[in-house]
């Protein structure tokens, strides 16, 4: 158990670091997909089967694809000529290293962490569904509302501004793809919960 978790951790972190350091955006996204798959493997090893599958469905199947579509639509598939790092990148790296040091020190030296491993609870889909429909029904409804609002908002933002009245129908065509992507994310997560 511990060995496989360590291997998963190494793969995930390597993939994430690759995703953040490559020059080519498309390679970054592919590495990101590997990182997401690694996190899903983490969930599966921690007995959270449903969440692990949902992670693959939402992140690898929807978010990575969405990012890929955005890359294609903004034509940023080629590596840029100038530096990929913004001004003040040095301070950014210092700060993130400080953050990691602080959290890591806290984790290694904390006495509040539980030491004994409890027996795995059976977080079956049935239990999750029952909890969603009873105890967490209000958050569920709110999430539904938020997702609808996000979908409408994304469609409105990405709609091309129409200058002439005549071209409106054809102009709105590309946004249909995007609305499709957003509502995949919504519907697939809803579909999993039902």
């Amino acid at each position: 158990m511990t060995l496989s978790i360590i291997i998963t951790a190494i793969v995930t972190i390597l993939a994430a670091a690759t995703a953040m350091s490559l020059r080519n955006l498309v390679h970054s996204v592919l590495a990101l997909a590997v990182a997401f798959a690694g996190i899903a493997a983490f969930y599966l090893q921690l007995d959270a089967q449903f969440v692990g599958f949902a992670e693959i469905l939402v992140y690898v199947g929807a978010v990575a694809i969405l990012i890929v579509f955005a890359i294609l639509l903004t034509r940023s598939g080629e590596a840029p000529d100038q530096s990929v790092l913004g001004p003040g990148w040095f301070y950014g790296i210092i700060v993130s290293a400080l953050v990691f040091t602080a959290i890591g020190w806290a984790i290694l030296n904390s006495s509040a962490l539980p030491t004994e491993v409890p027996v795995a609870s059976d977080a079956t889909v049935k239990h999750i569904g029952e909890a969603l429909m009873t105890k967490y029904v209000l958050p569920l409804e709110i999430i539904g509302l938020v997702l609808t609002a996000a979908m409408i908002g994304a469609v409105l933002i990405a709609l091309r501004e129409v200058s002439t009245a005549g071209g409106s129908r054809r102009e709105s065509a590309p946004s249909e793809n995007l609305s499709g992507l957003t509502s995949t994310a919504t519907n697939s997560s809803l579909g999993g919960k039902a």
Partner: protein, 103 residues
Amino acid sequence: MTTLQICLLASALLFAIGFAGAVTRRHAILVLIGIELMLNAANLNFIAFWRFGPHPEMLTGLMFVIFSMALAGAEAAVGLALVIAIYRHKKTSNLDEVKELKG
């Protein structure tokens, strides 16, 4: 080192990598990717604490992760729509060249 500590350390490292990426990279989409990584690191924490915490039968951490995933999907959709909208206006997705909102 216990399994919980390994999970937490991995999640902290993921968070740091995501943070570094989001702060240092110029490209808008890469900043979004960094934010997604940070969200996932937080989710990993929730799952680890749910699994090794005192009450795994309560499903609280699991529920939080499910809702946070749904929100992350919405956030990615809106964020990428913003990137596309900015690209249409400025023909660039480089964040250093988008300075109108600075005032």
